[in-house]
Amino acid sequence: MNRNMLLYDINQLLFFGVMGVSFLACAAYLVFFISQKNHIRVWARSILTVSWLLQTAYIAARYLAIGNTPITTYHETVFFFAWATTSAYLSFRWRYTVRNFGTFVSLLIFGLLLVSSFTSREVIPLEPALQSWWLPVHAGISLIAYGFLALAFCGGIMYLLQERELKSRRLGYFFSRLPSLDALDQLNSHCLALGFTFLCLGMVTGLFWSKQAWGTYWRWNPKEVCSLVIWLIYLVQIHQRFTVGWRGRRAAIMIVVGFGVVIVTLWQVLT
């Protein structure tokens, strides 16, 4: 009992730490976006890395406190979503840089964390039928897929902003700050490919989990239908991109819309 109280306190502390540090990272990225001073970017990135460490610690502490992977309630899922997005961004950033990408991503991460802070942090015991190691594998992989799709969403927004300035011939605030259309399009392509790969893995593991829990692979319940819709939306995009060379504005709009559907149905897919 005493141990649980302690874990609960650590949990609380870590959560506030994550919120505070992520807010700082977001603010630093915004200051960088406005001032374009490079040393601020280095700071912002370090702060975001600290935020990632704290997020990881929070998930670990919650795992210890409740005994199963914290990926089942609204709060846990949205938090894990934010963690996956941060991880995806940091892993991506490690390979190559896209100018001012961090500002958009850190805003999204902070937004997700904010949503998670407004949901109940109460622990809901898991139905015995669902207790299986398929659960963390399936949910984890799916959320990592969402993390990459979230990056693609940020890239899509940036693409649309830059494209609008170029098309309108009024080169304003974003023109010098955002990277070239080509760089953004490539970024979207990469994120989409990675995200879709994880999405497929998530679907497959979901099937096995369903088989184990309910004895059948597919039951046509709303949750499954929603996942199928999301999967089809991204399948079409991938197909168009790699066969007829779909790109540019329309592709960026599809990425943004696709992610919108992900967010809306996330509430459905949950529980």
């Binding site: 080169l171 023109f175 259309l181 779909w246 790109r247 504005r249 329309r250």
Partner: protein
Amino acid sequence: MFQKHISLLGVNHKSTPLEIREKMALTDGYEGPLSRLRDQPSVQEYYLLSTCNRVELIWVSDDTEKTTESMLRFLFGDAVTQQDWGKYSYLYHDGEAVKHLFRVSASLDSMVVGEAQILGQIKEAYRYASQYGCTGPLLNKLLHKSFSVAKRVRSETGIGSSAVSISSAAVELARKIFGNLSDKKVLLIGAGEMAELAAEHLIGQGVQSVAVANRTLSRAVALAKRFNGKACSLEELGSQMEQVDIIVSSTGASELIIRSEDVKPLMRTRRNRPLFFIDIAVPRDLDPALNELDNVFLYDIDDLSQVVEMNRSERQKEAIKAHRIVDEETLKFSSWQESLTVTPTIAALRRKADAICEQELAKTLARMELDSAERDKVEKLARAIASKMLHNPLRYLKSESCRKGDELKIDMVRTVFGLEDDDPE
């Protein structure tokens, strides 16, 4: 007291018309003029900058009046009569001269404010000057400072960051669309002068190839040869547009050459790779509706001028910041120069020794319990050591060789004792 003065004499695109600048005999590289400058009397250090827009002469001497006249004679030769010398040139001394050089190096005095070329030219001229032993401690410091001022202005203001000519604006836009230009192909339609200029700029950015299409094929062939590209006729436009990425059009045709309907079906075979149309013809060659196609970007001459105009006014704003930096650095340099005389150096040296004594005494005495007689003795001891240590350096500073105003020696003493760091600003 011998005081050295820095003077600057120059002509530039604002002060002097081109006809006169052309006549001034400083266009034969640096070697000749620099060796002629060596024979000027009373000039201790000198530096010459000569570009197509300006000639700047900087020298150090202790007799400004006499040297100014001989320098004017050197600069103008027979190109201008003596009474017009003042009209066509500008002359600055000391702080003003330093400020002018900093402005030039920061590209605030250039025809196109913020262009980066001038700094390279100043550096090249300095290489020659130091190679022929023309500069000494004062000008070495001054020129190195001017490089760092230029660098500071560039990094702290946005003065050189945006394009201010039609063709560089086109390149800037192409970069924002394509990112890397090294695998991109350019097609010129019409062989006008503007198209040529734009193509040169794009080649400077490393585009892969240039093709030229023109009504008269011979003209296209001639231009294509210049760019190492290939020529084609206007009938081949359709197939060309499937391959190229940037199209610059500048024909004298009175009606549209490329219509939106012509390009739309091509986008599928292009696999939607972006197309950038630049229309610098008046009347326009390209259908304005092209801009509405996905992945197609169209800029005409008015759009480009608008971009340039916007960037220009942005640069003017940034120039105000840059002037402040230049003023600041000029003050710093002047105070450094003033410190290079014997009297302030001796005072600074004494101040430093006193400060060290006070500091160390305070530290030691705080930990000891001494009566006032003993305290006195310890204080005396410390001061005696300090002044014995300073004895020789001070004698050296007061000696005849330093009294003449040998900046190198004074600067050395200041550096050895670290006097620059603790001078009151």
